[in-house]
Every structure is written in C-alpha cells, then in structure tokens.
Subunit: 249 residues, 2 copies
C-alpha cells in the first residue's frame, strides 16, 4: 500500500500502526483523528492507562454482537469494520463502515447493550475504551467529555444524511455519494482520494445503500463505461470526481 506524494508526513507511517501495538496515544499516527485530540498531556497519560490497545481481528471476525455484554466502545486502529442491525426474520442492514480513528459502539451507551453487530472487513486492530472508566474520567476532563459528545453528534449528523440517501436518492446518486464519502475518508487519513481498495464486498455496499447487488454491479460497469471510475475487483480509481459529485444530487 505505497503512498502517493501528497501524503502528509503525519500519516506516512499509518500502515505501520498495526505492527506497533503499544505505542502511546500521543505518538499514534491517528492522534489528530482520534479521541485524545485536545487533551492535556497529563490527562492523556491517564487516559493511556485505561485503553486496551490494539487488539487484532482476522477478516470476518465479530468485534461484538447483540449477545456481547456492553462494557466498551472501540476505535478502529487499522483495517476496517462494518456494523449491521438485524430483524427477527433474519434480514440485516449494514448501517455503516468504519475506518481508522472512527468510533464503533456508541449507539450502545443508552441501553448499555449492543443492538448491532460489528465485523472486521479485513485483518484489523482496535483500541478498546472501557466505557465506565471513560465516563469517570470525563468528570475531571471537560475536554474528553466534549470530544465524546462531539463524536456522538457527528455520527448522528452522518446518519441523518444517510437517511436522506436511503429515502430520497436514486441508485446512481446513492453509489456516487457512497464512493465520494469513502474517498473523503481515505483522504482525511492521508491516503489518495482517487485510488483505494474497497474492503467491503459488493453485497455489503448494496445492502448499505438499500439496493440489490446486481444494481451495484451494473452501476459499476456503467460508471466505468462513462469514464467516471475504473474498477478492478476491489480496487477502484475515481477518474472524474467532479462529475461524480454532480451525480450525488
């Protein structure tokens, strides 16, 4: 996964993260994207203590499911995850994809129980944040508390957009929006906004967007024929991000 030239120095070594499990928050390549941002040095050291760092999961492993008792929220350290909610009849919906620095499990705080399942899409690592401790700490670290609320609020805001997408957008608009969202997130992490690997299957994408796999497949083909993208299996290049943006609606 060699990086192109426009990568900021900060993220040069992002790929190394998973080989270096015991790195402290302040030295972590994800620092700017992650929870500790804005914490005082002393507070950060304290926080460091409670974080269960860099647990590894092979591809397809469940980080938690609805039977797991709730104690922690998680931050992706490397790799990627998907979360799903399930109905009694077995239907499931992919509610989101999560990349390094993003939080998983915040919707469980209220009920103190996971109502969804999180699965790794590739070999991945997470940092585990014991929630009780986190709450204790926020009592004396206003900045931590602000960060947590901010995270919650950001996901909420994203979910509202997703509701619009699911409720109002056409298949074409859905896929264009999805591709640009992923692109943006790769870019934010110092990777190329144009070329990346889709770690999730076509089925996962289709499910997430409320479409059939066949529709996604056809759209990929059409977008490629129209010169918007180039795909080869899981690899994708955005060839005309501008036109893609116009397709988002």
């Amino acid at each position: 996964m060699a990086q192109s030239s426009n990568v900021t120095p900060l993220f040069n070594d992002l790929a190394k993260v998973e080989h270096d499990h015991n790195i402290a928050c302040q030295d972590c390549a994800l620092y700017r994207l992650c929870l500790p941002l804005g914490l005082h040095r002393n507070d950060l050291a304290e926080l460091d203590e409670i974080i269960q760092r860099s647990q590894s999961f092979p591809r397809g492993h469940a980080l938690f499911n609805t039977d797991t008792s709730f104690h922690s929220i998680f931050v992706v350290r490397s790799g990627s995850f998907k979360t799903t909610v399930q109905a009694v009849d077995g239907r499931e919906h992919v509610t989101g994809f999560y990349f390094p620095g993003e939080f998983i499990g915040m919707d469980a705080i209220y009920a103190k129980a996971y109502k969804s399942t999180a699965k790794s899409l590739e070999s991945s690592t997470v940092c585990e944040l014991p929630f009780e401790k986190l709450q204790e700490f926020s009592a004396t670290m206003p900045q931590l508390q602000i960060q947590l609320m901010s995270r919650l609020s950001r996901e909420l805001s994203g979910d509202k957009s997703l509701m619009f997408l699911l409720g109002k957008k056409t298949a074409e608009e859905k896929l264009a929006t999805f591709l640009l969202s992923i692109s943006k997130r790769f870019q934010d992490r110092g990777f190329s906004a144009a070329d990346f690997q889709l770690t999730m299957s076509r089925g996962d994408i289709a499910n997430h967007l409320g479409l059939a796999v066949e529709t996604i497949s056809r759209l990929f083909t059409r977008f490629q024929d129209d010169g918007l993208i180039y795909t080869k299996n899981k690899a994708i290049s955005l060839r005309d991000a501008e036109r893609l943006k116009q397709l988002c609606g």
Copy 2:
C-alpha cells in the same frame, strides 16, 4: 383531550404544561422523561437558572433552520415538531418527529451549526438549553453529562433502526412500524396507546418513510378495511396492535 383511566397520576396534567410557563423542572410533568432526571436537587436548581423556558410557536413555525446560528439544543415541552434535511436541488427528507420530553438539535453539536430545520406541527412550546452553559455545567455534574450522552446515544440507536426501515422494509412494514412507534411514545407520556391524533400530514409521514403520499393513503385505507386501524382525518385508533406488530417485520 380528555385522558382515559389508565393514565398515571404523574401525567394527568400534561395538557396543562403549556399554560404554566414558569414551572420549575422538578415540578414539571415531563420530569421523568426529561434531562434533569437523576440530578441532585441543588444541581437541578442551578440548571433551572439557565433554561430558557417554554417559548411558544404557532403551527408551522421554524424553531431553527440552516441559517440559524447554533447556541442551543431544545426540549419539546408541549406539541410536536418535525426535522428535515435538504439537498441543494430542493428535495427534503423528514428525519424525525419530536414529542414532549424529546431533544431537538443534538446533531448540530459537532459542527456547531444546524444542518437541519425544525418546524412545529401544531402550536407548541420548547425549553431552550444553551449549549455552552450545558457543557460548563456537565463538568461539575457527572449525572448531567451521562444524561446528555445517553440522549445522544438513544437517538443514534433510533436512527439505525430507521435506516433499516428505509433500506429494507416494505411499505406496509414501514407504516405499521411508524404507527406503533408513535403509539409507544404517546403511551410513554401517559396518553392512550390506542387513540391519538397524528399531528403531521400524510405527506410528512410518506416523506419520512421514503414513500409517496398516495401509497400512505392507500395503506391507511387498506389497514382500515382489514380492521387494523380506524382513521378519521388526523385521528387514529389502533384496533389490532398485535397484528400490526406482526406486520412490522
């Protein structure tokens, strides 16, 4: 709006709330559903000070829109609201409906800007919670902080279910789910779970569920023909909540 006999004493006077603007949190009929739950008496008194209480809005008035600068989140005191997100092309999606004790505007915390619009569906009142102050206070009131996070998390959890609904459910399942959700919320507020007024238009319901008005209208007719509900304009009675539940999927 006379109440049926199974109403808890606590909520007997819910209808009076809007006539009694300066009632303190601890004496408010919504106390059990609202933010102050679990706060110590002294803390509550302090919180009371910063709350801008019971501002009134006539039907159709915007509580805020995307041009409003963000300073506060709101709790519905009486009446009801809808929130919408808009695309540049004018399409809009109704992201939620809000009843007494429910919070509006939490998705704005992250960006410190409202990305949605909130409109009253009937003559309504809100309590305004200045967010800066709220954050200051939570530094010394762990319970307040927990309440806030809990609220955020609960809405997040609800939005995931809504995503499932929008992405996977049939029109019939969507409407059944919607009706039972509203029913549950009325019940939680001490009103009848079976008979209530839908304060939103058919168009709002359709939009929220990702359907056309005509589809909603046809479903109402069919549900009524099947003895599941009885409707007369905005009034609705759930006649067979059990079967309705089975239709939710």
